[in-house]
C-alpha cells in the first residue's frame, strides 16, 4: 500500500503522494510531490518542476525526444519525455515521464506535477478527504476488501 495525503494547495485541499524519480541516463534523482489525478493519462512533470530538471540536474530538455502533445482544458502543450524509475513508498516502477515543455504564463499558477493513470492503473485508488486518506492499494489488498 502506498500512502499519500491531502495537502493545501492555494486555498484548496488536494491529494498528493511524495515521490522520488531516478533518471538512469544522467544518474540523478528528483524529489517531487505529485498531485493524484485520475483524469491524467500519464504522469507529468509540471511546468515549473521542468526547470528543476534543467537547472538543478543539468538535463537539456531540448535534446529529449518529443512526446505526444498534452491536451488539457486550456489547449495543447508540447511535451518531452524521459525514461525514469519512480519510487513510491517501498515500490519502484519504471515509467516514461512526460515533461510539459512550456513556460508558466504570467499571472497564472504553475501546472503541478501529476501522478497519472500510467501509474495509478497498477493500484486501486482510495481517496477520502474526511479522514485525510489517500491510498494506492495493491491488487491483493483491493481484492481483500470484497467490494464487488
Amino acid at each position: 500500500m502506498i500512502r499519500g495525503y491531502f495537502a493545501t494547495a492555494g486555498t484548496r485541499r488536494r491529494p498528493f503522494v511524495d515521490a522520488v524519480f531516478y533518471f538512469p541516463a544522467v544518474n540523478a534523482t528528483l524529489e517531487l510531490r505529485l498531485l493524484v489525478d485520475s483524469g491524467a493519462d500519464r504522469t507529468i512533470c509540471g511546468t515549473a518542476h521542468a526547470n528543476l530538471l534543467h537547472t538543478d540536474l543539468g538535463i537539456d530538455l531540448t535534446a529529449l525526444p518529443r512526446g505526444q502533445p498534452g491536451t488539457g482544458v486550456g489547449g495543447q502543450t508540447a511535451t518531452r519525455i524521459i525514461e525514469a524509475v519512480l519510487t513510491l513508498d517501498t515500490l519502484a516502477l519504471p515509467l516514461t515521464l512526460t515533461i510539459l515543455d512550456s513556460p508558466t504564463a504570467p499571472g497564472t499558477l504553475p501546472v503541478p506535477s501529476l501522478l497519472g493513470r500510467d501509474i495509478i492503473s497498477h493500484f486501486a485508488l482510495f481517496l477520502e478527504e474526511r479522514t485525510n486518506r489517500v491510498l494506492l492499494l495493491e491488487p491483493n489488498e483491493a481484492d481483500a476488501l470484497n467490494l464487488a
Partner: protein, 83 residues
C-alpha cells in the same frame, strides 16, 4: 544508484513535505506568491524567481534534485487538469 538510497531520500523528503504543510500558513504570510525550497525541515531558499531559488539552494549546499520546491500562495484557483 541503490534503491535503499532512494528510499532514504524519500523518507527525508516526506519530512520536508510534512514540514511545508505544518508551516504553510506561516510560509504564506512570510513568502506570499513566492517559490520556497525546504530541505531537512528548514526553509533554505525563497524568491518570486524560481531560478533564484535554485541558485540559493545550490549556494546552501543542497544536493541537486533534493528537497521540496513549491509555490506558496493564498490565491484561490480552480484546477481542471486531465493532461
Amino acid at each position: 544508484m541503490e534503491m535503499q538510497e532512494r528510499r532514504a531520500d524519500l523518507e527525508r523528503f516526506r519530512k520536508d513535505t510534512q514540514y511545508f504543510e505544518a508551516h504553510r500558513e506561516e510560509l504564506v504570510k512570510r513568502y506570499p506568491d513566492q517559490w520556497v525550497s525546504i530541505f531537512d525541515e528548514q526553509v533554505v531558499a525563497a524568491s518570486a524567481d524560481l531560478e533564484e531559488v535554485l541558485a540559493q539552494k545550490r549556494a546552501k549546499g543542497v544536493p541537486p534534485g533534493k528537497g521540496l520546491v513549491e509555490y506558496v500562495t493564498a490565491k484561490d484557483e480552480v484546477l481542471i487538469l486531465s493532461l
